[in-house]
Symmetry: C2
Subunit: 374 residues, 2 copies
């Protein structure tokens, strides 16, 4: 579930894991609001994907036990029960669990679906399960680090023959063009102009020279406008070069170490003359079952740039300022790395490197830039 | 300092006091941003009031020791030093203290101003002080409950003959008219219409009946749109009846118990025919010194509705829906009470009662409504 939350980093331990109270105040709490749940329930692409994944693969559910990690309103647990599950454990950390329980009863499924309020890391189930289903994906897949809780659930509660819903996930990156680069650059320049006036006035009018704070203010504004990933709904025409997978996750076997930090290098060929304004990132997940017990119908949920099938996740935009003129055939050698914020494990730091070689053979100076996913 | 922060309540102890990590994540952290400090430094009414309070009362500062509670960028500490203080202790809980220290040095006051990073409740000063200066006021004066920290500072560090800057504070309430009532009512109705479509679609398309959640959703939306105080810049013409002070604070003697919870009843006479849409609330503070050592020039900082002298605090609007037609001479018997949210001591719950007697003598049914200050 993508949620912008409040984006503020709290102090954490060395690994960025904050204490439970802080984690609740900064992360979990927004999910306790029905308004927020509704936003996700209104995402048709998301809903259709999970609905079809379940109901076109009833053999995975009929007579089986299911664990829904982060049940929210209870929708996936309810569908699992309607698809024939014998028993569904629906775990939810927030008071939304009370609404889930109400909803289960109103849909006459209280004999199948047991809603449990608690964190996945702490709840104790009476048995292991055949299926773990969860909608855990944050912006750019891993923001919010909810998959950690799914891994925990899997390691504690999934039978050796059990299945993950979704079974696979991928993070994609592509070079893009975007008007945001000019907008954010303008916003930044305006903020700096405004600051300079402010420094003048404060000196002349109030006798305090604040010019020594110009540099830290500039850094703060630059970080905000130009070094923080931006939620955006990209048009497919904004993708100007071949996209690539920078991370693949097998949900049955991935560990937290696999996703905590990783790098990827790939080539992207520019497909038409344009300005390289940065990179767009998105993800997809698949419902394939497992080799020993595959899906009858594989379902894909993709958040790639789309005209008609956008999702509430949008895509993430990482801006390069200044933008760079590129033409068809320009080669981009892109390196990508992602790691967790040292202050808060649910937020990320991303680094892009980009070597640009025009089709003439000219190499541009290499680009390297870090971004915060707040 | 008024800050909308993120308005999210965290779980707290019985008295709503949350643990330090949560308090930092929900409250203090926004003050670590220069952008936020600048917003307050650009509030000319605020700046002028403190500047004049200090520089027109230099006798309170010359050769004296000063404590600035919550120094932020350091501005009040710097002015205190420029007004002739012998020593200024500038306490700041966030990393903004580092910028304050830089600013002090850049203005050649490092021999007078000592910036200390820490919470007022914990820092240890080498001596008691002659003056405690602080800009602690939140929306509607007490939101953020920062005055608790000023009281703590006063009780620990102010000399028996010491002075508080500001010395007094008052909360005001008046009946108002406002287009917000229609706007919020429309927003609420739209949200409910949207919800009803959502319930239909989810039932028809996805086989899950969510109608049992309509009532809690309605409550959540009603709370959000109509039961939460709204920041607004009121025009003086929106005040339709006599305003009254609902709380007076002597900063030299007030205790936390005095401000934690209080009630007030007053009469307000409607001054012209209009719709009573609710109540507006604001505050003022005064710099009067103390009886034994008064200000040479008393300064007032008011956040009353104003055409030219608005502040970043605005006013708070508490909407009554439906609004009530009233005419000149209608008497309003208003009761007001404020207490702290049981979940978070920095947020408030306010209750208004209103008995309306038209000049004809007709009494309307009494109104009673609670609001959250988030």
């Amino acid at each position: 579930m993508g949620s912008s939350g409040n984006g503020v980093v709290g102090g954490g331990g060395g690994n960025g894991v904050v204490d439970k109270g802080v984690d609740f105040a900064q992360y979990f709490c927004t999910y306790a609001f029905l308004y927020h749940q509704k936003e996700m329930l209104c995402d048709r692409v998301r809903m259709d994907a999970y609905y079809n994944a379940i109901f076109k693969n009833k053999h995975h559910f009929q007579g089986k036990t299911v664990l829904d990690v982060g049940t929210g309103s209870g929708i996936l647990a309810i569908w699992s029960a309607q698809a024939g599950a014998r028993k569904v454990y629906a775990v939810e950390a927030t008071k939304m669990s009370e609404h889930a329980r109400t909803l289960v009863k109103a849909n006459n499924l209280q004999n199948v679906v047991e809603v449990i309020e608690g964190s996945m890391e702490e709840v104790v189930l009476p048995e292991k399960v055949d299926v773990i289903i969860s909608e855990w994906m944050g912006y750019f897949l891993l923001r919010e680090s909810m998959f950690d809780s799914v891994i925990c659930a899997r390691d504690r509660w999934l039978k050796p023959t059990g299945i993950m819903y979704p079974s696979h996930a991928r993070i994609w990156v592509a070079p893009i063009r975007s008007g945001l680069v000019d907008k954010k650059e303008n916003d930044y320049e305006e903020a700096m102009d405004d600051w300079r006036s402010f420094v003048n006035e404060t000196k002349n009018y109030y006798g305090v020279d604040m010019s020594v704070l110009t540099k830290p203010f500039e850094e703060e504004q630059n970080k905000y406008y130009l070094q923080t990933s931006i939620w955006n709904n990209l048009h497919p025409h904004q993708v100007i070069g071949t996209a690539a997978v920078v991370k693949e996750i097998d949900c049955l076997t991935a560990s937290v170490d696999d996703i905590r930090q990783f790098t990827s290098t790939f080539f992207s060929s520019v497909t038409f003359e344009s300005r390289l304004c940065g990179f767009g990132g998105w993800f997809d997940v698949h419902f394939r079952g497992r080799v020993e017990n595959p899906a009858q119908q594989e379902i894909e949920l993709t958040t790639a740039p789309s005209i008609d099938n956008g999702t509430h996740w949008g895509q993430q935009v990482f801006l390069l300022q200044p933008s760079v003129q590129v033409s068809e055939g320009t080669d981009l050698n892109i390196s990508f790395s992602m790691s967790r914020s040292k202050d808060y494990h649910r937020l990320m730091v991303v680094e892009f490197g980009c070597d640009i070689r025009h089709s003439s053979g000219t190499m541009l100076p290499p680009i390297k830039k870090s971004f915060y996913i707040e």
